[in-house]
Amino acid sequence: MGQTLFDKIWDAHVVSSNEGFPDILYIDTHFIHEVTSPQAFDGLRQRGLPVFRPKQTVATADHNVPTWNQHLPIKEELSRYQVDMLTKNCAEFGIELYGLGHPFQGIVHVIGPELGITRPGGTYVCGDSHTSTHGAFGAIAFGIGTSQVEQVMATQCLLQQRPKRMKIEVNGKLQKGVGAKDIILYIIAQISAAGGTGYAVEYAGDTIRSLSMEGRMTICNMSIEMGARCGLIAPDETTINYVKGREFAPKGEEWDKAVAYWKTLYSDDDAAFDSVLSFRAEDIEPMITYGTNPGMGIGVTQHVPETASFEAKEQGSYKKALEYMGLHDDEQLLGKPIDYVFIGSCTNSRIEDLRQVAEFVKGKHKADNVTVWVVPGSKQVQEQAIREGLDKVFDAAGFPLREPGCSACLGMNEDKIPAGKYCVSTSNRNFEGRQGPNSRTFLASPLTAAASAITGKVTDIREFLKEKELV
């Protein structure tokens, strides 16, 4: 009987396996950031333990940092305190920190891949649920809680129950204007925000294969939004070409050895999955969410469902969500005026996202009623964008390019969407208050967000593409 990709990687990292007990899984790289690490460092101090493998621990400041004037001291006292704590803790425990001002600083799930730290066949964890992003390389990567952060710091291992395996296939040709973000929002809308709970999800099929690494990261990033433990995609030439030559990628003989191993990483034809789902690329429209969990998504031309279409016991929660969003039964989002557009987050803040948006907005200008924030995922993305002159295109369009960080994805810094305002956002969560107290989020792709910024209302990107062949 063949093995799944997931099982191959898992088995290669099991330190110890005992009946009735979770496996002890070896972690290749542990990413840490300022928000979920301080209590873990405290725990180590209380136990009198060092960080077991500081060289396999990588730190950055992202969740809480300002995205404007990063060279100045952080104004918000608590944010400054958390960032200072991280600096102090990393120095004390011998961990490399890509903090503010460092050329490698950025959102943890953007910098791991771009530095060549994330590689096929590896195991990666971080105290942040979107760690699933790194699975795009054909790796096992998932978010952990702070107690587990402490556990990995103390032992470079994690106690884990092997999850079940699910395969999600997408085959066929995407419509113009539909991209990776639409695919994953569509899948989550089909199977619900809990549809993947307990599973490691492997994405497969020719549509997935045709995506760039950045598109694959967008897909794996949102695995957690369907409740999955992690998401992964088998490595191929696209993956290998992406990793090659990056800062920390293996070099010379090491590289050849690594590539030979990576080529063995795929699910065997007769591998058994606990669940298999398939979707057709042709069915996917540009997507947008209307509710308060990422499963509440529709094609941009569709109408919000009627309360009566839900089972009686779900109607209360549904009504509450619509009320929060200021929407009503059967409303069409298309044409609804919006107030903010946020292009950023570990889902969509990489250079390809920025290029795509810049190409689209070139020669256009945002609507007066909309405030636009473009927040690059990392210092390197920001620099690259400037080298390519994208910042000038953005400026001319009224889309100022800010500095890297999580920003309005979770509104921990000052980038908050005000109460009651609508934001078309390329991030990954539309929970109540996620982007600021009482803010209202419509999740969408970078293209849909950019088009909506130009018109000032929720827009079907395909309308623009009819005029001009683009993308």
């Binding site: 110890s16 007990f21 952990i144 809680g145 307990g198 929660s317």
Partner: protein, 196 residues
């Protein structure tokens, strides 16, 4: 490091019959800035409990003096969303020892168990029975026994068994944690590293 020993509790409960309660409701992100594990209880369900001027909202259950106890009972898919363990600390800090729901999000369940907070997953039916019992009598008492793995509505004697990972059960009933366990296997880790 020794953690709290949990074997059995019997208490009144706090009902929250809402589905898909996500971690941003349990503890909004703006309260994640603390660097210790204490004090999060005050901000548990912050935006449901308090209005924009920090005044308690009278209609929210935690502000209703008639309800109280060590067990939180919530609707399906509790704890979905982020990996923030603060959600588990907030509830433990507030004084809950167990959460009952008909379905838990994955990461949340793990975080809860790691913090001496027992997630008890019951059937939809039994969950409804608990809500009915509590709304009929605010002081209705629920018993949770981790050793024999059952949950019981004391007044009616109705009970249901629940699943718990045998390893986590051993940890909670003995008061030891994951790091103690892994460190007892340290040689295996270094052996693994050299064999790679």
């Amino acid at each position: 490091m020794a953690t709290k020993i949990f074997k059995h509790i019997q208490t009144s409960v706090v009902p929250l019959p809402i589905e898909n309660i996500d971690t941003d409701q349990i503890i909004p992100a703006r309260f994640l800035k603390a660097t210790t594990r204490e004090g999060f209880g005050n901000n548990l369900f912050r935006d449901w409990r308090f209005d924009g001027n920090d005044n308690p909202k009278a209609d929210f259950v935690l502000n209703n003096p008639n309800f109280g106890g060590k067990i939180l009972v919530a609707g399906k898919n509790f704890g979905c969303g982020s990996s923030r363990e603060h959600a588990a600390w907030a509830r433990a800090d507030y004084g809950f020892d167990a959460v009952v729901s008909s379905f838990f999000a994955d990461i949340f369940k793990g975080n809860a168990l790691n913090n001496g907070l027992l997630p008890v997953q019951v059937s939809e039916d039994f969950l409804k029975k608990i809500f009915d019992a509590v709304f009929a009598d605010e002081h209705a008492v629920i018993e949770i026994d981790l050793v024999d793995q059952f949950i019981k509505i004391v007044a009616t004697g109705e009970q249901e068994s629940f699943e718990v990972n045998p390893y986590k059960k051993a940890c909670m009933t003995n008061g030891y944690d994951d790091i103690d366990y892994i460190l007892s296997k340290k040689e295996l880790i270094t052996e693994f590293e050299t064999s790679k």
